[in-house]
């Protein structure tokens, strides 16, 4: 083969081959990452991706999922034009329409509903990804509806709610770089947070102690843990309170710090008295000796930083309080807002704490009406509504079904996925009550299939966007390739929709670039300068000095870290408790050999939610949905590797292949989620929610397991 041909086959960039490397960001997972990409382009087609070395946050790395960008972008079910349903909902009969027609139809209907039923009858609902959210929230405010909701009602906002209630800060980061002991709670960074793994490994080498809490065996438990605690799913709170019990009993708490900066310690101390190591063993399955050992490892190696994964802790009926119980350890050891501990952060833009004064709050709220109806979920989950300026979307089913306190008549989705929550088929049915269903997505997903109008969005490599990262890095990206077919960027769609509705929002109407200029008005850099930089720019903000917020007084009622929450105290009459109390999950009351704890959604390296199951590279790694089951449980039920297993609850049943593995603990089965052919959410009802946060109890569901009998 001649050299040029060989080099083209080898995808070598250069003039000879006509292959060019352009830079972009991956938007397959959440904004905390959005790693930099080197995108190999030939004839305006992407032929390969790899990590971008010069990227200030990801340093050339990308994960298994990010490496799938090319197949993801060129998926065959990309939506090509705006579509209008011409048959019955879900019939698959579509008519391609122009953008003007689509905007006209949507705007006409939304304005009609607003006139007739009030603006709150329209819901703007964001699924994944999250990059356009400040724009969508502004659109909802301009329209006048309180019903801006997101899939974060199921995911990271539980942590925000926790920190807001307890400390007044929206979030904390763990200052692992300066910790003496690291508590990784449901922490397995190897499949998605390589950089966090790197820091933990390096620190461990230089003597930092590590405790991993995870019912499963993971690369983190094997590579990092000095002690691996394996509580039964959903019992995290009891374990944290048990550790606190030992820390207090053995006088390993920071009494001076507590006096100055912690509220409600005496009540908390009284409450944890009953969580002796022996009782903790009863409640969690973690041996009493290990509880003591872990507490001592913490007490003797302070400062303590805690790094958690939000969803596994939150997805239980007591998830909010379990999370609070874990983070209480930071307060009693004097490590909250201290070097080497938990450092409170505030977000600059799109959930990123970059230390930059981006005008996101002002942008979102500039046109917010003074008076609005209560948002969806605020009746059932008042604590959520008090702290989170969003609908709690887990209450949408109920409101669609009952029309109480008012009917929701239209849902305009961006990346909306009805399958994301428990009782998904019930939600789909309830959505049929709406007069207008719109979804915006890259692909004709199961949700798009029953909508009235579907709009084609483009991927992160086909658009420009403003993106910030921790450390003050900011990048206004350029499209790597032109938007495919007639697709557009989500923010462009939002701006054009605002214009079509004539909401009088001159900023949105002026388009995305005008909005970005306004957002970065207070930064020492202009949009033109960012464009000219053609890559990430570092603005080097003043770093936060740990202790500043704590010493100024936190934004809680007491001004302190509230072990006893004065905000929750106001909701005592509806059964909410100000202390981080422990209530066992339903799975703790099981008996009988076929009953198991079902934990949905552990992670696999090559998939995220349902987003990559539709491409063949991901399927090559994980061809079929499987359920992890411990070898002894499998033997007891007569199940061998690869055999079909039936999982059933009162809500339904699904079948999948057994993966007999020591990764699972005994008595618990783990189901990987997002597979349309074995949708674990059909096993779970929408009523099993956490009363504080409204989060669904995905991960502690009683389930019956048996070998599937061939008929």
């Amino acid at each position: 083969m001649e050299k040029q041909k060989r080099q083209i086959k080898g995808k070598i960039p250069g003039e000879r081959t006509g292959i060019e490397i352009r830079h972009g960001i991956c938007d397959i997972c959440c904004p905390s990452f959005h790693c930099g990409l080197n995108v190999y382009v030939k004839d305006e087609r992407i032929i390969k991706v790899e990590g971008m070395e010069a990227h200030p946050a990801s340093h050339g790395r990308i994960c298994t999922k990010g490496l799938m960008n090319r197949q993801y972008i060129y998926r065959e079910d990309r939506i090509k034009t705006p579509l209008k349903r011409i048959g019955p909902r879900g019939s698959g009969q579509w008519k391609a329409i122009s953008w003007e027609e689509a905007y006209g139809e949507i705007a006409g209907k939304l304005l009609e509903i607003r006139r007739r039923d009030g603006p709150e009858a329209v819901m703007f609902d964001s699924g994944y990804t999250k990059w356009y959210r400040p724009f969508l929230h502004r659109l909802a405010n301009s329209f006048g509806t309180p019903n801006y909701g997101t899939e974060s009602s199921n995911c990271m906002f539980s942590t925000f709610l926790n920190w807001l209630v307890t400390t007044g800060a929206a979030m904390c980061r763990s200052d692992t770089a300066h910790s003496g002991v690291f508590l990784g709670w449901a922490f397995n960074p190897y499949y998605s947070r390589d950089l966090a793994a790197d820091v933990a490994e390096q620190r461990k080498k230089s003597g930092m102690k590590v405790i991993i809490v995870d019912p499963r065996i993971t690369p983190a438990s094997q590579r990092l843990a000095d002690i691996h605690l394996r509580p039964r799913v959903g019992t995290d709170g009891a374990l944290a309170l048990g550790i606190a019990h030992v820390l207090i009993r053995e006088q390993m708490v920071d009494t001076e710090y507590i006096k100055s900066y912690v509220f409600g310690y005496e009540e908390y101390k009284r409450y944890v008295q009953k969580f002796t190591p022996e009782e903790t063993e009863n409640l969690t399955g973690v041996p009493a000796g290990q509880v003591v050992e872990a507490a001592r490892l913490i007490g003797k190696n302070l400062p303590l930083s805690i790094c958690e994964s939000a969803a596994p802790i939150a997805h239980h009926q007591n998830g909010f309080q379990n999370y609070r119980a874990i983070m209480a350890l930071s307060a009693i050891t004097g490590c909250f807002d201290r070097e080497g501990g938990q450092i409170p952060i505030s977000f600059s833009y799109n959930y990123q704490a970059a230390g930059l004064p981006v005008r996101q709050e002002e942008f979102i709220n500039e046109r917010k009406p003074k008076q609005m109806a209560p948002a969806v979920g605020s009746g059932r989950f008042p604590l959520w509504s008090r702290f989170i300026d969003e609908a709690q979307t887990n209450d949408l089913i109920r409101q669609l079904e009952t029309g109480i306190p008012y009917p929701v008549k239209a849902i305009v989705g961006f990346g909306l996925n009805y399958r994301i929550g428990p009782g998904d088929e019930q939600l789909k049915k309830a959505m049929m009550n709406a007069e207008l269903l719109v979804n915006t997505d890259l692909f004709l997903t199961d949700t798009c299939k029953f909508c009235d109008i579907v709009l084609p969005a483009c991927s992160s490599l086909e658009r420009s966007e403003l993106k910030v990262w921790g450390g003050g890095h900011i990048w206004y990206t350029e499209p790597v390739i032109a938007p495919m077919y007639q697709s557009k960027s989500d923010v462009e769609i939002i701006c054009e929709l605002a214009k079509a509705m004539g909401l009088g929002d001159s900023l949105l109407e002026a388009g995305p670039e005008a909005c970005y200029r306004e957002l970065i008005r207070d930064l020492p850099v202009t949009l033109e300068e960012l464009k000219a930089a053609k890559g990430p720019v570092s603005l080097e903000p003043e770093p936060y000095v740990p202790g500043t917020w704590r010493k100024q007084g936190l934004k809680t009622e007491s001004g302190k870290f509230e072990l006893y929450s004065l905000a929750i105290e106001k909701y005592r009459e509806i059964g909410l408790e100000p202390l981080p109390v422990y209530i066992p999950p339903k799975t703790e009351m099981l008996s009988g050999e076929r009953w198991f704890r079902l934990c949905s959604s552990p992670r696999i390296p090559g998939a995220l939610h349902s987003r990559l199951h539709g491409i063949s590279w991901s399927r090559a790694l994980h061809p079929e949905p499987v359920v992890d089951i411990h070898p002894e449980d499998a033997e007891r039920l007569g199940i061998t590797e690869g055999e079909m297993v039936e999982l059933s609850t009162e809500k339904g049943s699904i079948c999948m292949k057994a993966s007999v593995t020591c990764k699972a603990d005994q008595g618990c089965v783990y189901v990987y989620h997002g597979y349309p052919e074995a949708d674990v959410n059909t096993l779970i009802g929408p009523e099993m929610t956490d009363p504080y946060s409204g989060f669904p109890a995905f991960r502690s569901i009683p389930v019956q397991v048996r070998k599937k009998v061939q008929e």
Partner: protein, 183 residues
């Protein structure tokens, strides 16, 4: 578990044979490039496998496989992973098995290269490789009909010539893969 241990031993034995050959070559100072896998760093994320599929346009929907694979094993409550790809053997049995002489050990790089242009997809090399590191490719011809050939790791030779790392090495977030070049 016994079955698993047995297969582990078998794989270890095969690797040992290949590894010994490499050591000898290194000592003899003979030209040899190869991809080394360091098991202590591997976490089984399979970024290498996807990078290989991206680099080589592998289409699993056509039955094609990446030129490397990562398998997961368990032993006494611990997880282990194993990376397998062509070891670019000194005396490649695949080359010996090929009736058409499509496979040659490149004298410059030491890589075992398969000439897909003359391969007719008979599959003898696939049967011969003890590591199962060769598989079928189904590629479109100019008339869009599919042509079946064997396909294997070429160590991303062109990338190496261009001063770049092989795709799998470049992608590994744990740096568990390294490239040894002695040419």
């Amino acid at each position: 578990m016994d079955r698993m241990k047995e297969s582990r031993r078998e794989e270890d034995r095969r690797e040992e044979v290949c590894g010994r050959e490499h050591k000898e070559e290194e000592q003899n100072g003979k030209g040899q490039g190869r991809i080394e896998w360091h098991r202590e760093f591997c976490v089984g994320c399979r970024a290498c496998v996807v990078a290989c599929m991206d680099q080589n346009d592998i289409r699993p929907e056509y039955g094609e496989q990446a030129f490397c694979k990562v398998t997961e094993e368990e032993n006494e409550g611990r997880l282990f992973w194993r990376f397998t790809s062509c070891r670019h053997c000194r005396d490649p049995v695949c080359a010996a098995a090929c009736p058409k002489g499509c496979i040659e050990k490149d004298s410059k790089t030491g890589m075992v290269l398969l000439n897909e242009e003359i391969c007719d997809g008979c599959g003898r090399c696939i049967e011969a490789c003890p590591l199962h590191a060769i598989s079928f490719l189904k590629r479109e011809k100019d008339d869009l009909s599919l042509r079946v050939t064997a396909g294997k790791c070429d160590g991303c030779t062109e990338r190496i010539f261009a001063g770049m790392e092989p795709a799998c090495v470049r992608a590994c977030p744990m740096k568990a893969l390294t490239m040894t070049t002695i040419f």
